[in-house]
């Protein structure tokens, strides 16, 4: 196993809807943006972390092109970052196959008489058109942006208070600005060793490659070149061969390695980015780090 972090391009296209792999909400979204013309491209990037958002080892037909690259590391390999959803009581059994098991889970939820978070684990449920789902991904992201950026953790903070900070002559408070930018897909990017951060528009990219390229352009050509900065950060920022690794904070506040999940899922859950020194990336991807150390040979 090579252990290089290779970018995944876009969604898990080509995934047949008859796959029994459970699909989180995001899986549904990524399926929605899968188009036949892209399918071959997106699955052929070689070994990388994760697979179509799969929390199972289901590597059926659509994943067959991955098989030859060795073992696919999935979210299960990183217990600290597994979505809390799969830990909901009684729901974990649903995580194995989509609609088939739902009937069993139904009986579970009968007994408990309370929501168990099943709806996020069942294919095609709730019944909302794929197109609308895509739009909702962006809406939900923006809403979470409200709560996070105002620095409040509580869930019942009235959202109206934040909206009032805008006034129509264009002046905006910083939290409102961020709020707006969240709608438009701008997220903050900070790089270790550089005090001033940047912002990148996620909606301007449709893949991890595009994003990586933009970030490399940004930080390679940054105005801070006077400072000690790795000029040869390398175009391989994200394949593990540089001193840096790209990470992101998701909407639950966890720091994750970029590249695991389909692009659209990533866009839907990312709050901000950090270009982190690989040496600090422990705990995010233990296996990855080990092999990365072995791999890395060029000095920075």
């Amino acid at each position: 196993m090579e252990g290089r972090l290779v970018l995944l391009g876009g969604g898990s296209s080509g995934v047949s809807t008859t796959e029994s792999a459970v699909l989180s909400k995001v899986e549904v979204v990524s399926e929605a943006c899968s188009y036949p013309a892209e399918s071959e491209l997106e699955l052929g990037l070689g070994l990388s972390l994760g697979g179509g958002g799969g929390s199972t080892g289901n590597t059926k037909a659509a994943n067959s092109s991955w098989g030859e690259c060795g073992r696919i590391l999935t979210a299960k390999d990183f217990p600290s970052v597994v979505s809390h959803r799969t830990n909901n009581g009684g729901s974990s059994s649903v995580a194995v196959s989509g609609t088939k098991r739902a009937a069993e889970t139904e009986s579970v939820s009968h007994d408990s008489g309370s929501p168990t978070g099943v709806s996020s684990q069942v294919v095609g449920w709730p019944p909302i058109r794929a197109y609308r789902m895509n739009s909702l991904v962006n809406q939900a992201k923006a809403q979470r942006g409200d709560e996070l950026e105002s620095g409040i953790g509580e869930k019942d903070k009235p959202k109206d208070a934040l909206k009032k900070k805008l006034d129509y002559n264009g002046k905006q408070t910083s939290s409102a600005t961020v709020n707006e930018k969240a709608y438009l897909g701008f997220v903050k990017v900070n790089m270790d060793g550089i005090p001033i951060g940047r912002k990148v528009d996620l909606n301007a990219h449709s893949s991890y490659e595009g994003l990586a390229q933009a970030l490399e352009d940004m930080f390679l050509r940054s105005a801070n070149s006077a400072e000690k900065e790795p000029l040869t950060m390398a175009s391989k920022l994200l394949d593990g061969s540089s001193e840096f690794v790209l990470t992101y904070e998701d909407k639950e506040g966890d720091w994750m390695l970029v590249g695991d999940v389909p692009w659209r899922m990533f866009v839907g859950s990312v709050r901000r980015l950090r270009i982190m020194r690989t040496s600090e990336a422990n705990g995010l991807a233990p296996r990855f780090n080990e092999s990365n150390d072995r791999q890395r040979s060029k000095p920075i």
Partner: protein, 586 residues
Amino acid sequence: MGSSELKRSKDSVSSDESARRSSFPDEVLERVLSLLKPHRDRSSVSLVCKDWYNAERWSRTHVFIGNCYSVSPEIVARRFPRIRSVTLKGKPRFSDFNLVPENWGADIHSWLVVFAAKYPFLEELRLKRMAISDESLEFLAISFPNFKALSLLSCDGFSTNGLAAIATHCKNLTELDIQENGVYDKGGSWLSCFPESFTSLEVLNFANLTSDINFDALEKLVGRCKSMRVLKLNRSVSLEQLQRLLVNAPRLAELGTGSFSQELTIREYEELESTLSNCKIMHTLSGLWDAKGIYLPTLYPACSNLTFLNLSYAALQSVELAKLLAHCPRLKRLWVLDTVEDKGLEAVGLNCPLLEELRVFPADPFDDEIVHGVTEAGFLAVSFGCPRLHYVLYFCRQMTNAAVATIVQNCPDFTHFRLCIMNPGQPDYLTNEPMDEAFGAVVKTCTKLQRLSVSGLLTDLTFEYIGRYAKNLETLSVAFAGRSDWGMQCVLGGCPKLRKLEIRDCPFGNAALLSGLEKYESMRSLWMSACNVTMNGCRLLAREMPRLNVEVMKEDGSDDTQAYKVYVYRSIAGPRRDAPPSVLTL
């Protein structure tokens, strides 16, 4: 024209008796029937007698085909020689929710080939859930010189290149309506393909697309298409750009804005407000992506004649919605996100007495942990204030039997009742009982009910009620419900007008499936997935009912004796020949 004359004289020569019986010349009968529009009425008319059948088929200009596999294009062309407008629906509805494999079928191309030969003067094509490629779009664009209207809803398989072909070649285009499709967006240059001489567009809806379009091209297009009445922009169009477009098109009846959130200066705000206030005849408003509460007041003057407001992409809060609705007294249809919460729905009840349709979509359908969205209280509030309500689609996380009973008492005229309690199998949250009585109340009270979607914890009792009381029910959607075959048997044994039955994740098996043998021929289709139906049951059905197509979608790695997804539909075209390997026709 010549051939039709010939046909008619042949008919009258060969049957003197019928000429004596009928006092109308064929021409008169055809003229009268040509005024008849609803396709069901036309079907009834065609059954009266041979003369009427012929008159009807010669006078029909629009054909509606609810299941593209129920008939073949050749059969359609043979029966109806003078078609100018076609509406076709393809995949089963659950394909919208990714339950149908991508290569399932419903490809338009074979239809287009026949139409090009038989209906060279075709003007309109409206497709829903069909697969359409760029090649097909290009073929369409060049094969029909009179082509006027293209509407694609929930289709897939094409890219913006196909739209470019339409824009380039369709000189007489009046309508281009691209809605909620899985379109591969390769960029916005397609819009620039409309030639400078092109001025006929009346309806342009590209809200579906995400890429930036060339605004200059759009502005010029809107400027020269003086008859434009429907314009629905995509999210890439900013507020400032919207204002510039509206200056040229104040007579729009339907407007879909782009993104409603750009930073505006005071002057720009006032300009927008002023331009919008000129849009007095607007009756439909949509778009409003990322709508900022502070900019909504610019819309107020444009809302006085509004009958349809689609806020389902604008995450408004209750206060914002309330303020907006105060300016929409004539509202009949409202679509919102559940970010408006119950308080927002109270405002609906207070401000919109004429409301007939309400759809509440979940902003965050998968996050069960955050308590937000709408509850039974919101639905109740609307029902108290809006007695004319007859169409509802409501996504919520909790509901009670008592609330639903009250709601249908307030609004007994429901024709479409689609309630989605998002957690599968959830009971009445106050009493912990099944939701049987809720849907029982719906079917008992709402005698005009045509469409029902059920949810929550349901036993067979719900289906007993449905079978017994829902005399006008045509479409029933069931998920995660029922206890035994008896439930489905009740529905198939009752519901005389049932046409579409779609079921997923229910404990219905072969006995239930086979109890509807005769019924399926009077229905358009049956869908059953993740139920307890086996291959043997399906084979038996196929054997007993040769005029039904029984298709089973195989699931990788599943038990070979189980029929995981079953789609049954009546057809006069026989089994289809374009099924992919994963779909077995029995």
